[in-house]
């Protein structure tokens, strides 16, 4: 996968731009806080997803990665928070779309799978009904066609005896099987974008391997773009083409997957990579990032990572750095002010 795309880029670097599936510009998500102030969970995020690409959005808890994905789905209720900026799918603006129009897109053009397969299926409805519902909502298929399609989808996600499983309830299936059902449901209407929010975090490692394989297979079969939200750098290295690292509501680094792992630039990315024990290497000691993950609203000015940064400059405490472009890599850090150019 990765190598294919790299080859493609080398041959024809311009061609990819027209392939933009999703463009997110200046995305700000803010929640009302005490005393009429706002807390920004996502702060001026820009990115684009190209067709048939797998992009990972990486970060620790509370960095804003999940909320970003929910905003793309239009699943942040108006009374809960404001979503500002532009989210365009195939050049069509999604932010501000009427609820009815948005419902036609959810499940059909963009679908999503979640972290907890155990609780993500409705316990009182049969599997067949739950998958069938999404087909019924977005196509004009007859009852019989829906059933055929449902069984076909269950076969695609490699569930044994699909004609029996459609009459089962979620609690009769294991976590791995439920996540397969979620994937079948998400892919049933052949969406152009699949958002996978920590799809394997709740699963055992041998099951995780099965699910990641399955997602890769289906992506090729269905020509789907995947936005993978995760905290697990191992998973990222295994499935992503491109990676965006988020910290405190901002994208702090963006690069091709090999670049990110071989030449990480942002001190936070570097810190993350140094923090994880690696099965293939022997380190006596890990080199962690100091301090704690800050709570939202705690830091109001300067670079939010400076408290935990080994390389913090004077400037970092007063000015939040912009994203600097260094070749195809983007990094939000003052250390690269001279090397890169502001995007």
């Amino acid at each position: 996968m990765t190598t294919n795309l790299l080859e493609l880029l080398e041959k024809n670097p311009e061609a990819v731009d027209e392939d933009d599936l999703l463009v997110v510009e200046n995305l700000v998500i803010q929640f009302a806080a005490e005393k009429k102030s706002h807390v920004r969970a996502v702060n001026h995020v820009n990115f684009n997803l190209k067709k048939r690409e797998t992009v990972a959005l990486v970060g620790e808890s509370g960095c804003g990665k999940s909320i970003t994905s929910l905003s793309i789905m239009g699943l942040i209720p108006k009374h809960a928070g404001d979503v500002l900026g532009s989210i365009r799918l195939n050049n069509k603006e999604l932010n501000g779309l009427s609820p009815k129009k948005m419902r036609q897109i959810r499940g059909k053009e963009i679908s999503m799978i979640f972290q907890e397969p155990m609780t993500s299926l409705n316990p009182v409805h049969k599997i067949g009904k739950q998958i069938g519902e999404v087909i019924r909502l977005h196509t004009k298929a007859s009852k019989e066609e829906i059933k055929v399609k449902t069984i076909e989808m269950l076969k695609k996600v490699e569930i044994p005896r699909p004609d029996k499983i459609i009459n089962d309830y979620p609690h009769q299936l294991s976590g791995g099987m439920r996540q397969r059902v979620m994937i079948a449901m998400a892919m049933a209407c052949n969406p152009s974008l699949l958002i996978a929010d920590e799809p394997t975090t709740a699963l055992d490692v041998t099951i995780q391997a099965q699910i990641l394989d399955l997602m890769n297979d289906l992506k090729d079969q269905f020509d789907t773009t995947i936005l993978l939200i995760t905290h697990d750098l191992g998973v990222v290295a295994e499935v992503a083409d491109r990676v965006m690292v988020m910290y405190y509501g901002q994208i702090v680094e963006e690069a091709e997957v090999t670049t990110l792992f071989t030449q990480p630039k942002h001190p936070y990315t570097l810190g993350l990579l140094n923090s994880i024990p690696n099965l293939e290497e022997n380190k006596d000691r890990l080199d962690p990032i100091v301090g704690n993950v800050p709570n939202l609203g705690e830091i109001t000015e300067g670079c939010p990572f400076r408290f935990r940064c080994q390389f913090a400059l004077e400037k970092c405490s007063t000015e939040n750095p912009p994203l600097f472009n260094i070749e195809k890599q983007k990094v939000r850090c003052w250390l690269f002010e001279e090397e890169g150019e502001v995007s």
């Binding site: 100091v290 705690e298 408290f307 940064c309 390389f311 913090a312 004077e314």
Partner: protein, 299 residues
């Protein structure tokens, strides 16, 4: 690349911690409660009624048993704000005095039931061997609708105010046992209990120091709500002629007498009933507010 170290060693969450004064769980709960409109409205009603009851001997415009035949069945007026009854007694004064009885009945019932229920519930939840017996007993008690149980108990003990209190208390016990047991069971599973067990802390200390304080929140909520329910049940018993007997100015008993004169003097039964409703409403509002304030999920 060597940066000038400015503030890298300061942990932002530490800054956050040092800024604020530390707040215990109960201080946080108090803060939440004060912001809860329902709870405040409930407290206001309760303070009003408790105050009126306590100060009844001083504030009541008339003595409770002052009969004036010429004043019979007077409708509400400036002299008698809530009217008078068949003996010309002032209903407002009687309601103020009656508040003492109703509130006392609630208090006694909730205290008896609360203490028994909490002890049984904690034992049942912590010592699983005894659990099955206690719960079977409670299931049997729960098989009687609570007012029916109270009526049955009065059938045995005989009619009267004290017996009504005991009857109500017994009928409330099972709900305490259930709630407390459920809370203990969920707390027992918490790792902090395992942690103190691993330290070798004695069962008694674990129950007193770690389980009980965590069971307290549901007990407080339940007691507040049961306070209201008990007053309601006690009033219903008196209304049926099984509890307080006329001429005791108990609210249920007053409504019982008033029932016979409903068409000629509606105020005789409707005002005592209204008093009951308001007090019970007060407890329910406060209980709901407490439930929200104590809800661990809101942390």
């Amino acid at each position: 690349m060597s940066g000038i170290i400015t503030s890298k060693n300061i942990d932002p969450s530490l800054i956050h911690l040092q800024k604020n004064n530390t707040k215990s769980y109960w201080q946080i709960v108090w803060g939440r409660l004060m912001k809860n409109k329902g709870a405040m409205a409930g407290s206001f009603i309760l303070i009003f009624f408790i105050g009126a009851a306590l100060l009844a001997p001083v504030l009541a415009p008339f003595p409770i048993d002052e009969m004036k035949m010429e004043n019979r069945f007077l409708p509400p007026s400036l002299d008698h704000l809530l009217g008078t009854d068949e003996f010309g007694r002032d209903i407002l004064s009687r309601i103020m005095h009656g508040g003492r009885i109703s509130l006392m009945m609630g208090l006694v019932a909730v205290s008896i039931a609360g203490i028994t229920g909490v002890v049984l519930g904690v034992i049942s939840g912590y010592y699983r061997r005894i659990d099955i017996y206690i719960m079977q007993m409670m299931d049997i008690l729960l098989a009687f609708p609570s007012l029916l149980l109270a009526i049955a108990i009065i059938a045995v003990l005989g009619v009267g105010l004290t017996n009504a209190m005991i009857a109500v208390a017994i009928s409330v016990i099972p709900s305490y046992v259930r709630v407390v047991r459920g809370a203990v069971l969920s707390i027992r599973e918490k790792e902090y209990i395992e942690a103190v067990q691993a330290l070798g802390v004695s069962d008694f200390k674990i129950i007193v120091k770690h389980i009980f304080p965590n069971v307290l929140s549901p007990v407080i909520v339940l007691s507040t709500l049961q306070f209201g329910t008990s007053i309601l049940a006690a009033a219903a018993l008196s209304f049926l002629g099984l509890g307080a007997q006329p001429p005791t100015p108990e609210w249920g008993a007053m409504a019982y007498v008033g029932k016979s004169f409903l068409l000629q003097a509606w105020w005789m039964s409707l005002f005592p009933g209204l008093a009951i409703m308001l007090v019970v409403l007060g407890f329910n509002l406060l209980g709901d507010g407490l439930r929200d304030a104590l809800d661990p999920r809101l942390k």
